[in-house]
């Protein structure tokens, strides 16, 4: 399957990475190379197989319902590039 430049733009938009036309052209070639290469998996017979999402083989361990984290607003906000008082600030979102 070959990726059109529109597809590159669509996934870049989904991934929120701004691309100029030159980048789209470059990435179209690179991504087509990679996608074409991974399509070798089409020759594997995977019928009847369950997908493997994790190799750890364990199941989820459960935490007690205890408040033992949070409560340090300064630490949470200390690295924020657009802090405003007790908030993170971003350009206004119009709904």
């Amino acid at each position: 399957m070959s990726l059109e430049s529109a597809t590159i733009k669509k996934i870049a938009r989904l991934a929120r990475i701004g691309l100029d036309e030159a980048a789209v052209t470059r990435l179209q070639a690179e991504l087509n190379g990679i996608v074409g290469w991974v399509e070798q998996l089409n020759e594997v017979d995977v019928s009847g197989l369950a997908p493997l999402a994790s190799v750890s083989g364990t199941t989820l361990h459960l935490r007690a319902d205890v408040v033992n984290d949070g409560g340090d607003r300064e630490a949470v906000l200390a690295n924020a590039p657009g802090r405003e008082g007790p908030f993170f600030a971003v350009p206004k979102v119009v709904e």
Partner: protein, 492 residues
């Protein structure tokens, strides 16, 4: 030279007060001072903090019984969050991020008395096999091959490998997602182990691909790796994929007898056109293990050839989601935009380098509506086959022996035009990552140009001891003594 000592040897020397922790740390800081300008191994050096920790270690040593790593100077891959010390993942996007917490792995090392010299370079977000994708510039290998070209140290733990090989640290933490500990270890003539998935906590380590990422040590000997791994590993309730298992005595495993141990030689690791030098090294390894009492068994891992393609779907898919949090809102770099979406797009376009952008886009593509089944789901199924290959092989053998990488270190700039060519570096290391099994690279030979080559030992799940035992036997038989051109106190 203090910078030539092993961790085991240095710990002994410190206990006997042959030298102080301050002297040991200073020797390394001097080396960094002299060589880091050329190697670019360290992104951040914390000299004052290291000296203070060394003084504290000396105090503890004077008091008697101390933990195993007391006073041992280490380098920390800049993917582990270190409280109060800038952590970059070698990316512009993290800006001046100062973690308010310490990763579990580094906290475990500190608990054992280790002294951190600084944060070492890597491929951006650990995505790469050459350490050329770092926003802080490439790491240069301390090894040279006579043509004047700067060589890559491998990646992604390239700063860790270069620092350890050049004597700028006694050991280092690394992370391995598809070979990021083993391949740079092989390229720089040192040892490195990726333990079983779930052995080391991932908490506080910046994620690349969560179902694959594992921390592990790089050091100049198998025993040193065993000591470091013993300190790093352990159950962590803060990581839901961490295994609730006791950590064995890895160090004692290094001297275990190999009599009767069955070693599998997978035929699929001998692709068309494999370099004769690699093949010769592999044959030597087989001979050494036979001499050590091992039984050599031919095995087949039929889906090996699909490992890389599977990896290059699964890892980018997870990465595309893991890296969504770098959005310029709560931490890290922000590039302004008129709207929130523009802010995101500007920040992520400027903050992520080319390789990271490529992988995030590939990952987004394979998860997107209409393509999920064809790529991601299929890859997860092939992954099940790769795991089955290993499970079946380990019914016949106790460990597998393969080369670590298809070639010795290449020069900066080589293989860099075509991403797929670069990805092929990981062909021998990726399958063990996909299966989550432990694997180690141990230096075994030098090629005709004098560059190190590594052998890979792959073990059963949770059997790091077996991997260390086999690797230690190879190390003893190989008598690998080559050292890089540039190293502390020598090449400056």
């Amino acid at each position: 030279m203090l910078t030539d000592l092993s961790i085991a040897g240095a710990a002994e020397g410190l206990r006997r007060r042959e030298f102080s922790a301050v002297e040991l740390v200073d020797a390394h800081l001097d080396g960094i001072e002299a060589l880091n300008g050329r190697l670019n191994a360290y992104i951040t050096v914390v000299a004052d903090q290291a000296r203070a920790a060394a003084r504290q270690a000396d105090g503890a040593l004077a008091g008697g019984d101390v933990p195993v790593l007391t006073g041992i100077p280490l380098a920390i891959k800049d993917l582990f969050c270190t409280q109060g010390v800038r952590t970059t993942a070698a990316s512009r996007i993290l800006g001046n991020f100062i973690p308010p917490y310490e990763s579990t792995v580094t906290a475990n090392l500190l608990r054992e008395g280790a002294v951190f010299l600084g944060k070492v370079n890597l491929d951006e977000f650990a995505m790469g096999s050459s350490n050329a994708t770092s926003a802080f510039g490439p790491v240069v290998s301390p090894w040279t091959r006579g043509d004047g070209a700067s060589l890559v140290p491998g990646g992604s733990s390239g700063g860790s490998a270069a620092a350890v090989a050049a004597g700028l640290a006694m050991g280092a933490t690394g992370t391995d997602t598809g070979g990021s500990i083993r391949q740079p270890a092989a390229f720089t003539g040192i040892a490195g182990i990726k333990p079983t998935y779930g052995r080391c906590s991932r908490w506080g380590t910046i994620a690349f691909a969560s179902s694959l990422d594992q921390a592990g040590p790089l050091a100049r000997s198998v025993e040193d790796c065993a000591i470091l791994l013993g300190a790093m590993a352990g159950y962590d309730p803060k990581d839901s994929t961490s295994a609730d298992r006791a950590v064995p005595d890895y160090r004692s495993a290094c001297t275990r007898s190999l009599r009767g141990v069955r070693i599998g030689i997978p035929k699929e690791y001998r692709p068309e056109g494999l370099s004769p030098e690699i093949e010769a090294m592999w044959e030597s390894g087989i001979a050494w293990l036979r001499e050590a009492g091992c039984e050599i068994v031919d095995v087949s891992l039929p889906h090996t050839k699909y490992g890389l393609a599977t990896y290059y779907i699964v890892a980018p898919a997870e990465a595309s989601s893991n890296l969504a949090r770098y959005d310029g809102v709560r931490f890290g770099e922000r590039v302004a935009g008129a709207t929130l979406d523009e802010l995101y797009e500007n920040t992520r376009a400027a903050g992520f380098g080319a390789e990271v952008q490529r992988r995030v886009l590939i990952g987004t593509y394979v998860l997107s509506s209409g393509y999920y089944d064809a790529y991601y789901l299929r890859a997860q199924k092939v992954r099940a086959l790769i795991l089955r290959d290993f499970t079946e092989a380990f019914e016949k053998v106790d460990a597998l022996l393969t080369p670590t990488a298809p070639s010795a270190a290449f020069a900066l700039g080589e293989k860099m035009d075509d991403p797929v060519q670069m990805y092929l570096n990981d062909i021998f290391t990726v399958p063990a990552s996909m299966a989550g099994v432990p694997a180690m690279s141990v230096p075994a030979a030098v090629d005709a140009k004098g560059l190190p080559l590594g052998l890979q030992v792959i073990g059963r799940p949770w059997d790091e001891e077996g991997v260390l035992a086999v690797s230690a036997a190879i190390e003893r038989a190989a008598g690998f003594a080559a050292r890089p051109t540039l190293r502390a106190g020598v090449g400056a």
